[in-house]
Amino acid sequence: MSQPRYVPLLYRVAAINAVLLATAVTLTVALLAPGKVSALAVDEEILVVLGAVALVVIANVYLLRRVVGPVQALTAFARQVDYSTLGQRIPDAEPTSEAGELALTFNQMLERLQAERRESTGRVLRAQEAERLRIAQELHDQVGQELTAVLLGLSRLSAQAPIGLEENVLAVQDVVRDSLEDVRRIAIELRPEALDDLGLPSALAVLADRFAQQLDLEIDEDLPLSLPRLASEVELVVYRVAQEALTNVARHSASSRAVLMLQCDLDRLLLVVRDDGLGLAPGHSPGTGMRGMRERAALIGAQLEIDNRPSGSGCEVRLEVPLEAEP
């Protein structure tokens, strides 16, 4: 933090007060008391007056510091506040002084900023999900169906193809088959169909199953028997966080095992993804995936913690979603 390029308020007020005081004392002594001060004792008297002035100036600085202190604290807080972390507020903001009013106003502004930010993040994420859904459906309903039709046509061709050409047709058929498989995979990644069709626990089971098969990850699942009805936005956030966390395990942890746990109490839903791999490097900077998880969590008022496990091996992602009581 750089030093301010101005004279701080405290010293300016203190200097003004000191100058005023000194002038007042000088004038008082010079105008009101000429002749009353003995000529011999002048040195001592000057010392006493100077001493009194100095004492008053020091007391002034001390009292001013107490008045200006909250403003400086406010500045320091405003510098380090993190707009994406929910619930950060200046403590003890009471409307008992101008500084207190300023702190209160600042807190209100912070609240408004965070609400606006949450809303705009929500809009972006909702738009993103809608777009993903549209692309996934388009892929499935258009590209997938057309590739299927091509595959059917090639099947008939291969039966009628002259000798020598049949193999070429079969080779083309393989390519189309692979594309169809790719289209299917991309569509599933874009939009977890299982979530709409099966609900959160089974969708997570399907997700874990896919990671197990495609990425050779062994996943211990601990999923609940059933869940109360959750807002689809909450389900989607939990699913996406689990997906991102498992992707990170597969990509970065160098671990081949992970735990996927979902617990539901009366007032909260807890998702834990844990591995026993390398863990986060000290001083790592969060990538887009992690930031995405945080933004999604903030959207539904959930707490997200990403940390190395206390036992020293591996990383743990915890998402805690507060649940509202049934209306």
Binding site: A149, R156, A159, Q173, L180, R184, L198, P201, V206, P228
Partner: protein, 212 residues
């Protein structure tokens, strides 16, 4: 790939008197190009006869009620009612055809739901060209061929059912037919029928009702 079971003594699900008569097929797919492609592919086989190719489950049911069908070849994802709904409906007909479902997604969840819907086979769209005719012949001969359900997924699905549903689901997975399951559990035909619809609804993922 081979047909899994071909019981030599029991009557196949088809009702053909003449074993050399072509297998009568009903094709249901809501995508015109795929429907046309399937129709042409299947019509090219000497032992197949495509009775009709229609675009919706309801239209398919209308045909199946009027015309004898040996194998219904149905896309899982239709615009409205899906292939499993149609499978359950077809199996309630006096002379039910074999039902072959094809889908882009042939995962364990679909396989589990297909067991409850009494479908006879599931074919991935990626294999629709090469293996479809073979699978149709197997199904026409009375064989049942569904993908395996990963144990963990089966477990997670089972947990979402109540005790009686678990019993029904378990017996169906073990290969018993619905009449046997109803007999074993002492369910009336109507009770079994509603149980199966409920089970299908649950497996296809309507969320559980809110906690009381």
């Amino acid at each position: 790939m081979t047909c899994l079971a071909q019981p030599p003594t029991s009557e196949p699900t088809t009702s053909r008197d003449d074993p050399l008569a072509p297998t009568r097929l009903l094709v249901v797919d809501d995508h015109p190009a795929v429907r046309a492609g399937l129709r042409e592919l299947l019509a090219g086989e000497a032992d197949f006869h495509v009775v009709a190719a229609v675009g919706s489950a309801e239209a398919g049911m209308d045909i199946a009620k009027r015309e004898p069908i040996d194998v219904a070849v149905v896309d899982y994802q239709l615009g409205g009612r899906n292939g499993l709904w149609m499978s359950r409906k077809l199996k309630r007909l006096p002379e039910p055809p074999a039902v072959l479902i094809y889908s882009a997604y042939t995962d364990g969840v679909l396989a589990a739901a297909a067991v409850v819907a009494e479908a006879d086979a599931i074919v991935s769209k990626g294999r629709i060209g090469s293996d479809l005719c073979h699978e149709i012949r197997c199904a026409a001969a009375g064989a049942r061929h569904l993908p395996a359900i990963p144990p963990r997924l089966g477990e997670s699905l089972r947990r979402r059912l109540d005790h009686e549903e678990q019993a029904v689901f378990g017996l169906l997975l073990a290969g018993f037919d619905t009449a046997e399951v109803a007999g074993t559990l002492g369910l009336s035909p109507a009770g079994m029928e509603s149980k199966l619809w409920e089970l299908l609804r649950r497996l296809e993922g309507i969320p559980t009702p809110p906690r009381a």
